[in-house]
């Protein structure tokens, strides 16, 4: 009942004219950013964040904007996946597998409209999940002290290493690089300057906006250099524009199953939309068995990943809002956005800033409806965006990045630092280090050190406090499990290979 009251209050905030306008704008921009190959939700959020800040938007409006962009990207990624066979963002990789064959068969309209409805279903189910579970989790989380927080953050990072799978060491090293970048600047407890190399510009640390834009926009520009195409020919969306009732029923349970699974995966810190869409696609393929045409254009193969990636995008807001620990790279950026406004996300947010939290949740519902309404008739317009050539697109991204960074401090130093970080990010990407882990580490860095030091101050230096309470013990067990996962997978694979070798030898 109380939740319902707060939700109504949230709708009050979200339906203010400026907030509605901002949600509309964010949804539109998000869809475009999402469908442009190479640009994903992190880029969209990173490009708009400094603008939102420079414009002096109030925190709830800024957050609504970023959330609308985030959701919009998850909607947009599927358009280029279906029409071009190029995923618009990483989470849409699975959508290409069946979406493109469908488009080739002249069913592009059906695939696009059905995937829009899948995205809508996914987000809606997950947003309801947020409404139900976030307040409960926030109540629990109040019991968390600094020691528990510290271990929780270790768990978030371990999750990243355990779930991303094939390169745990690189992932963990990336997260450590992020954590280390966060130590630059003056130490808040003692006032000692760390790693500033006597530079005034570094004394209050590396600005969050500079890190995000450097790592994601500048490195993306360098990456785009490798595939310079001059606009791409999309498959013409022909035939029926809308799916029929039979096709909807055919995919109904797929959508529901994948949405729930996507939501759960999204709630886990570290595991994002990409993993959710891959896992649900595989599950649906297995469930369908021989009756499915997965890979040659099965509608379920479009519905599953699309509902899952939207559901996990919404689900990842739960750890962000209740614990202050990001569930994905994009929510990490949003936490950074909140800290720019001097708002620390965490369990107290629900009590201290109900307008921000519930406004955001209500705006998810509204943004979703806007996106569904926008996406079905405007698909033609959006797909025309795909023919914007890179020689216009890349300079535009560059200029917006520069302005975004310049708006923070108005110094040339920041611009150069951004480019340096971008080049570093480019090298990391070429070497297959996941950048979202770096950003996660960077956001967690300061909180992690603060909580560790606070915990040890409470216990007067006794390390025992870090495993003294039941909560910490459970979290440590989970950390151990996550760190063991890649090892277990590796052993299993080796056994399989060995069994195969034995079979072929016999």
């Amino acid at each position: 009942m109380e939740t319902l009251h707060f939700l109504m209050q949230g709708f009050d905030v979200a339906t203010r004219p400026t907030n509605l306008l901002v949600a509309l704008f964010g949804a539109f921009v998000g869809t475009i950013v999402g469908l442009l190959p190479g640009l994903g939700p992190i880029n969209g959020v990173a490009l708009l964040l400094p603008l939102a800040f420079a414009l002096g938007l109030p925190p709830e409006t800024a957050l609504i904007l970023l959330a609308a962009v985030y959701l919009g990207c998850e909607y947009g990624g599927r358009i280029s996946a279906i029409l071009l066979n190029v995923p618009g963002d990483a989470a849409a990789v699975m959508t290409t597998l069946d979406g493109y064959p469908l488009a080739r068969q002249g069913k592009a309209g059906i695939a696009l409209s059905l995937s829009a409805v899948s995205s809508f279903t996914g987000s809606m189910i997950a947003t309801c999940g947020v409404v139900l579970f976030a307040p409960i989790l926030a109540k629990w989380a109040v019991a968390f002290g600094p020691a528990e927080y510290f271990v929780l953050m270790i768990f978030a990072i371990a999750c990243l290493g355990g779930m991303v799978g094939d390169k745990p060491v690189k992932t963990l090293l990336s997260a450590l690089i992020g954590l280390a970048l966060a130590t630059v600047g003056v130490d808040s407890t003692t006032g000692v300057y760390r790693f500033t190399f006597d530079s005034v510009s570094l004394s209050d640390g590396i600005q969050f906006v500079i890190v995000v834009i450097g790592f994601f926009s500048v490195s993306e520009i360098l990456l785009m250099l490798e595939n310079t195409h001059n606009g791409q020919k999309a498959v013409k969306a022909s035939g029926r524009v809308l799916f029929n009732f039979k096709e909807y029923c055919f995919t109904f349970w797929t959508m529901i199953r994948s949405s729930v699974a996507g939501f759960i995966i999204g709630v886990l810190p570290g595991a994002g939309a990409t993993i959710a869409s891959a896992m649900t696609y595989m599950t649906e393929k297995r469930l369908a068995g021989d009756s499915g045409k997965f890979g040659d254009g099965d509608l379920r193969g479009v519905a599953a990943p699309e509902s899952a990636n939207n559901a996990s995008a919404c689900g990842s807001l739960i750890p962000m809002l209740t614990l202050g620990v990001p569930g994905s790279g994009t929510t990490a950026v949003m936490i950074g956005a909140l800290t720019l406004y001097n708002i620390t996300p965490g369990p107290l947010l629900f009590e201290q800033q109900p307008d921000v939290v519930w406004g955001l949740i209500a705006s998810l519902f509204i943004g979703n409806i806007i996106l569904l309404v926008m996406n079905i008739p405007l698909v033609g317009l959006f797909s025309r965006m795909l023919s914007v050539p890179n020689w216009v697109l890349v300079p535009a991204i560059t200029v917006i990045s520069m302005v975004g960074v310049y708006a923070v401090h108005s110094t040339t130093f920041d611009l150069v630092l951004m480019i340096a970080l971008g080049v570093f990010g480019y090298i990391l990407r070429k070497l297959d280090f996941p950048l979202s882990a770096v950003i996660l580490g960077f956001v967690l860095g300061e909180m992690m050190e603060d909580n560790l030091r606070r915990a040890l101050s409470i216990s007067a230096g006794d390390l025992g406090i870090l495993w003294g309470s039941p909560i910490t013990l459970v979290l440590w067990a989970l950390v151990a499990l996550m760190l063991a996962l890649p090892g277990i997978r590796w052993m299993r694979r080796r056994k399989q290979v060995k069994a195969q070798a034995d079979a072929s030898a016999a």
Partner: protein, 147 residues
């Protein structure tokens, strides 16, 4: 190979930073941990990760072709020049120039790039400075505006 090289450089960097970090000492002990322990802990963990990658670099990463490297280098130089000229030349001029050069790098033709450069310089300035209220440097146009 490249991963190994990177890991080796990173290991050296960690050692170098550890030497610096050793010097972080607070004049008074405010808390039992102090400013030194946490960065050192991170550096040790990073060094361990880097050492692991030297021995087990994982799957082979593709090498960049000479041409791709050249283009990446040119792109970085353009971006740096843009950043350094941003204030002295002002937003409009530096943006027009950078847009033009980047457009060429991304295989645009000369005339369209010139047009897009000029348009972007002027239009984005108007958008950001007037519509969105983000202050941008005028640079060489400053004298014009003042007179």
């Amino acid at each position: 190979m490249y991963v190994r090289l990177f890991a080796a450089i990173w290991l050296l960097l960690c050692a170098f930073l550890a030497v610096i970090a050793w010097g972080f000492q607070a004049p008074f002990a405010y808390d039992p941990v102090g400013p030194r322990a946490y960065p050192l802990l991170l550096l040790v963990l990073m060094a361990a990760g880097a050492a692991w990658l030297i021995f087990k670099p994982g799957p082979h990463t593709e090498a960049l072709s000479r041409q791709a490297l050249q283009r990446a280098g040119l792109c970085i130089l353009t971006l740096l020049a843009y950043a350094l000229l941003f204030e002295p030349l002002g937003f409009v001029l530096s943006t027009a120039l950078a847009t033009f050069v980047l457009g060429l790098l991304f295989t645009g033709r000369v005339l369209p790039c010139l047009i897009s450069g000029a348009l972007m310089g002027v239009l984005l300035y108007a958008l950001f400075d007037y519509a969105l209220d983000v202050p941008l440097p005028l640079g060489v146009f400053e004298a014009l505006v003042e007179s």
